[in-house]
C-alpha cells in the first residue's frame, strides 16, 4: 500500500513559514497534483514526503507507517525534476541503468535489461537507448528522466514541474503521455506545478496551495465548478473568470458598474462578489443584457470577446466559426445556475 498521509505539517525556514498545518490524504494509485504560485509551499511539501526536508511539526505516513525518521533512500520514492540532471557522457541506457546498479539493490543484468526496455518502449525512447544524453532534445531528455524514475518501480513518484522547461507543443503531448502511463502503471504520483492546465487535465485530485496553506482540495471538477475562494476561481480557467461587485436591490442582484441584474436566492448577503466563467456568458439575440464589443481575440477553435458593460469589461467565449465585429452592440445571457458568489473576504457563499 502506498497511500500517503500528511498530518498537521508545519515547516519553517528561519522566520519564514513555508507550510502551516497542512494535512492531506493521497490514495493508493492516485495522480495527485499540488497547484499554486511560486512560494506557495508545493516543492517543500514534495521534499518533506521524499525526506529531503524535515518538518518541525506533524507526521508523514506511507501506508499507515510513520516515516518521520526514515531516511530518503529507504522511502522508495523516485524524483523527477524540472532540470533533467542526466549524466551527459553516458548513453540513455546507462543513465536508466544507473539507479538499478546502486549497491543498495542487487538486480541481475537480465532484470535491469528487461526493466529498461519496457520503460523505453512506454516512453517511446527505444531508438535512443544507445545515444549519449547530451545529444538529445529537451523533450527526449525529460522522457529519459522519467524513464530513469520508472525503472526503479518505486512506491511513489514525486515530480517537480517536470514539463516547465519544455515548449508548448511538447508539454501538451507529454502531459497526455505521463497521465496515460500513470493510469497504466497505477503508481501513486505527486505532481507539482504552477500551471493550472496541467493541474486540471492530469489530476485525479488536486490541492491548491497559497502561502503555505491548502486553500482547496478536490477533483478538477470541484475546483473549477465550485472554487472555494476568489483566489482559486482566478487561478484556474483561461481566459480568467469574470469577477464583479454586486448589491442586492429589490430582490435582484445588480452589478455596481454594469447593467446586469439577476434574480437570486434570498439567503444571499447584500454585498457580494459575483463570478461567472467566460463560457457561461452566451451571446445571443434577444439576450437579457446588452453590451458593446470592445475587442475580439480569435484563437481558432474559439474567439474571446471582450464586452463593454457599463464601466466593466466582461470576457465571453464564442465558437471560432462565429464572428462579431468590434464596436457592435450585442446582447447576452448568463446561465443563473453557473454563477458563483463570494463574500467580502473572498470566500465562496453556498446557495
Amino acid at each position: 500500500m502506498s497511500e500517503i498521509r500528511l498530518e498537521h505539517i508545519t515547516k519553517q525556514f528561519d522566520d519564514f513559514t513555508a507550510l502551516s498545518d497542512v494535512s492531506m490524504n493521497i490514495k493508493d494509485g492516485e495522480f495527485f497534483v499540488l497547484l499554486g504560485p511560486t512560494g506557495a509551499g508545493k516543492t517543500t511539501t514534495l521534499r518533506i514526503i521524499a525526506g529531503l526536508e524535515k518538518q518541525q511539526q506533524g507526521n508523514v505516513y506511507f501506508g499507515g507507517e510513520l516515516m518521520n525518521t526514515v531516511p530518503p533512500a529507504d522511502r522508495d520514492t523516485a524524483f523527477v525534476f524540472q532540470q533533467y540532471s542526466l549524466y551527459p557522457n553516458m548513453t540513455v541506457y546507462e543513465n536508466m541503468a544507473f539507479p538499478l546498479k546502486s549497491p543498495l539493490r542487487s538486480f541481475s543484468k537480465e532484470e535491469i535489461d528487461r526493466r529498461i526496455k519496457s520503460a523505453a518502449e512506454k516512453l517511446k525512447v527505444t531508438h535512443l537507448l544507445e545515444r549519449k544524453t547530451a545529444r538529445l532534445s529537451g523533450g527526449e531528455m525529460q522522457r529519459v528522466s522519467i524513464g530513469r524514475a520508472i525503472v526503479r518501480e518505486p512506491k511513489v513518484f514525486l515530480m517537480d514541474e517536470p514539463l516547465s522547461n519544455l515548449d508548448a507543443k511538447l508539454r501538451e503531448s507529454l502531459r497526455v503521455e505521463i497521465k496515460h502511463l500513470q493510469k497504466t502503471q497505477g503508481i501513486t504520483t505527486l505532481f507539482v506545478t504552477h500551471d493550472q492546465i496541467e493541474a486540471l487535465t492530469m489530476a485525479d485530485r488536486l490541492a491548491v496551495l497559497d502561502h503555505g496553506k491548502i486553500v482547496q482540495l478536490g477533483t478538477p471538477e470541484d475546483i473549477y465548478d465550485r472554487p472555494a475562494t476568489t483566489f482559486v476561481a482566478q487561478l484556474v480557467g483561461t481566459p480568467r473568470i469574470n469577477l464583479f461587485s454586486a448589491i442586492r436591490d429589490n430582490g435582484k442582484l445588480k452589478t455596481k458598474t454594469g447593467n446586469v441584474a439577476f434574480d437570486v436566492p434570498k439567503s444571499l448577503p447584500g454585498d457580494v462578489t459575483v463570478g461567472v466563467r467566460p463560457e457561461d456568458i452566451q451571446l445571443q439575440q434577444g439576450g437579457a443584457f446588452k453590451a458593446k464589443v470592445r475587442l475580439t481575440e480569435p484563437l481558432g477553435v474559439e474567439t474571446i470577446v471582450h464586452l463593454q458593460n457599463g464601466d466593466s469589461t466582461l470576457l465571453s467565449i464564442i465558437p471560432g466559426t462565429e464572428q462579431v465585429g468590434v464596436g457592435e452592440e450585442v446582447s447576452f445571457d448568463i446561465a443563473p445556475n453557473r454563477l458563483h458568489f463570494f463574500d467580502g473576504s473572498g470566500s465562496r457563499i453556498q446557495v
Binding site: K169, V176, H180, L200, P239, G300
Partner: protein
Amino acid sequence: MATIHLQQVDKLFGTSYAVKPMDLTIKNGEFVVLLGPSGCGKTTTLRMISGLESVTNGMITFDGKDVTWLHPSERDISFVFQFFALYSHMSCYENISFPLQAKNEPKDEIKRKVSQVAQMLRIESLLDKRPGSLSGGDQQRVALARALVRKPAAFLMDEPLGALDAEFRDSMRAEIKRLHIEQGATTVYVTHDQIEAMAMADKVVVMSAAEVQQVGTPLEVYYDPSNLFVAKFIGSPGMNLLKGHYENGTVGLPGDNLLTVSEKAKTLLGKAVGTGEVVVGFRPESVVLKEDGQLHGSVYSSDLHGGYTMLHLSLGSDIVHARGERRMKYAMNTMLRFDLKSEQVRFFDPKTEKSIK
C-alpha cells in the same frame, strides 16, 4: 504611419540563410505578426525592417520610399523589446519623455503627450516612480508608453510579452490590441506563441527554417493551413494528421479505419492524387462522437480543461485529439465511434507536405 514593403529580401550569415528570399506587404495601419519557433528567421526579419540588421539582397520600402540602406534612426520607427530596456536612474516620466526630449520638443508639448499616453496605459500614478520599483507588467507598460509617445511610421515589437507572467501576458495582450484599434498604427510584432499571434494579428506570417510558410488571417492559417508545418504549429493541440491511402473515394487510415470523403474532396483527390498516399488533417473540434460513426478508436486518455473535455483516442499507433462536452467521461480503452465534419477535413501531400487544394 506607413505601408511597409519587402521585396525579395533575404539574409545570409556566411553561406546559410537566416531568411530566405521573401516578399511581404504590411499595409498602413495593419497589425502583422511574424510567428515561428526559435531560429525561424522572424527576429532577423524584424531587425532588417528596423535597420538594426542589414539585408543581404532585396529592397525595403516605407510608403514607396527605399529605406534599405537607411540608418535605424532615419526610418522613423519605435521599438519595443522583450526586456524593458528602461533607464533605471530616471523616473517613468523621464523614461517616457526621453524620445521627445531627444528631438527638442517644447516642454508643454512633451507634458501633454506623456500624460495622454500615460492615461491610455493607465500608468498615471506611476510617472514619478523609478522603473525598478514596478512589477514586470507595469515596466512593460512604461516601455510601451515610451514607444507610443512618438507617432512613428511603424511600431516594431520583439516578443514584448515574453518575460511576463501568464496572468499579465493575457491582459497586456488585450491592451496592446485595443491600443492598436484606437491608434491604427502600422505594427510588426514577433512572437513564438501561436495563441498570442492568433489573438492579436490582422495578418499572421508563419515562418519556419528561414522561410515564410504562410501569410493569412488568423482564421485562414487555422482552418486552411498551407502545409503540414502550419497545420501542426497552429492550434493547441495542433491539427490531427493521419497518413492514409486514398483510392476511389475512400481513405484507409490507421487502426483499420476507412473514411469516405465528400464528393468535393473526391473530385479534388481524384485529380491531385489519383490512387496513393495522402495525409488527412482535421481539428479536434471536427470530431463528432456518434454510435454509428464510420471511424473508431479507443480512449488513450481523457482530460478536463475547465470549459471542455479533450479526449485522446488511439487509432493504431496514432493519437487523435477530440474536443467534446465538459461532462463527457470515458474509461481508458473504451472503444468509441466517430465521424468527421466533412467540410472541415483537409488533405495534404505527404511528399511535398503541402495542402491539396
